[in-house]
């Protein structure tokens, strides 16, 4: 199918983009890499009045070192994130998860910021951003504001982005100390969307787990932190038994859906198994 007609704007700066969004009418969609938006428009599930294409906004691309954080431009493609040395050094979890996103062609066009702003519960990057305590920088005509990952994902396909705002960059704090990370994903071979996935970030200290942060993919309408597991792991012995015991509460507080890929109780089971594997790997067990 072919998308419904729309007006097209192709700004080259963030200011121009904000202006184009403001002037675009009631129903404006922002086109990042287009790998979710164009399919949705083709199916006529979305028929925006105006599409603002960010692909020529050069200032939104690339990864930079900003002292205590790395800053990923919202329009950096998955393919560029994967190859980026700062990502590999400070946030290998992002590279690991990005490698599982869709396929090669989609990763060539799809963007880091686009995937986060789309906020699909089966998407891989939101849970990773959550586990890394990333911060989202949103730009509006009145200036910029920073939203922590925990407050960015509001509901199904819904984020803290306000009317007329753009996600411009994501700040990922550099971690101090001995951290290990792992993304464990369960999906059908021909469909890269996660049925369930778990992002684990673990700090070890003297044979113990000092701190664990666990993000869950597709265990509710938004990505979630597995708070009960994190609490059980804080200060626990870094042993397979302790990790397995803590992982049993991975589905606490979640509300997974049932669909043709999995029933809710199966997703709860997967969350426990994948949490155990992800934490064990991140803790070097």
């Amino acid at each position: 199918m072919i998308p419904a007609p729309f007006a097209y704007a192709r700004p080259t700066t963030v200011d121009e983009a904000l202006q184009a969004v403001a002037e675009g009418g009631d129903d404006v969609k922002i086109l990042a890499g287009g790998q979710s938006l164009i399919p949705v428009m083709r199916l006529r599930l979305a028929a925006p009045e105006t599409v603002v294409d960010l692909s020529r906004v050069a200032e939104l691309r690339g990864v930079r070192d900003d002292g205590d954080a790395i800053v990923i431009g919202a329009m950096t493609t998955h393919a560029d994130v994967l190859r980026d040395p700062l990502v590999q050094q400070y946030a290998p979890l992002i590279a690991e998860a990005t490698e599982t996103v869709a396929d090669r062609q989609v990763r060539a066009r799809g963007t880091f910021g686009g995937a986060l702003a789309h906020a699909d519960p089966a998407g891989d990057l939101p849970a990773v951003a959550l586990a890394l305590d990333a911060e989202f920088v949103l730009a509006g005509l009145d200036g910029r504001r920073t939203v922590p990952a925990g407050e960015f994902f509001v509901d199904y396909l819904t984020t803290a982005l306000g009317e007329g705002e753009l996600l411009v960059e994501i700040r990922v704090p550099k971690l101090a100390g001995e951290w290990g990370m792992r993304y464990e994903k369960f999906n059908r071979v021909a469909q890269a969307w996660s049925i369930v996935a778990v992002a684990a970030v673990v700090r070890r200290e003297n044979g113990h787990i000092a701190e664990a942060r666990i993000g869950l993919t597709n265990m509710g309408t938004t990505p979630l932190r597995a708070g009960a597991v994190e609490a059980a792991l804080a200060g626990a012995e870094a042993s397979p038994e302790a990790v397995a015991a803590a992982a049993r509460s991975a589905a606490e507080g979640t509300s997974p859906s049932s669909d043709l890929n999995a029933q809710a109780d199966y997703r709860e089971h997967l969350a426990q198994v994948l949490t155990r594997r992800a934490v064990a790997a991140a803790a070097g067990l």
Partner: protein
Amino acid sequence: MTRINVRVDGVTYDDDVEPRTLLVHYLREQLGKVGTVVGCDTSNCGACTVHLDGAAVKSCTVLAVQADDGEVTTIEGLAQDGSLHPMQKAFHEMHGLQCGFCTPGMIMASVDLLRENPDPSETEVREGIEGNLCRCTGYQNIVRAVQQAAGEMRGGARAPSGDGHVSPAEVDTAAAPHVAGAQS
């Protein structure tokens, strides 16, 4: 209508397109490049894969206006001076197709994969073309074709790694009878 300037298979075009026109429709309907096919129309199957500015993309999931000032290579632009690209040749020799519908996209995706990884293992080939679906072959001969092309494209410059080059003699003749000359 929006004016675009795009280079496709070595020829420059200036055209007016509606912003909603998908790149694959522009290629097929305005330029007559029907070698690039529409398979699923849902971004899954990869049959419409072309190269845009050097990277493989699904042309049903790119707007034609986004190719403005860009360079597109389709399956029709791969052969040089009448001789098949090594990947096209390998798909032919290794019987990497049956109905042929997925083949243009398979070949474009595979060429893109070798650009990044000139000597992929079998697993790397399978992962590299995960965005392309084939409903006939079971992929076996497609993977062999990609590895054969990789061997040929590396040429004599590097020693073969052992699993890169696949000679027809190693191929299961039941799967690829014409390669081994079983049906003479």
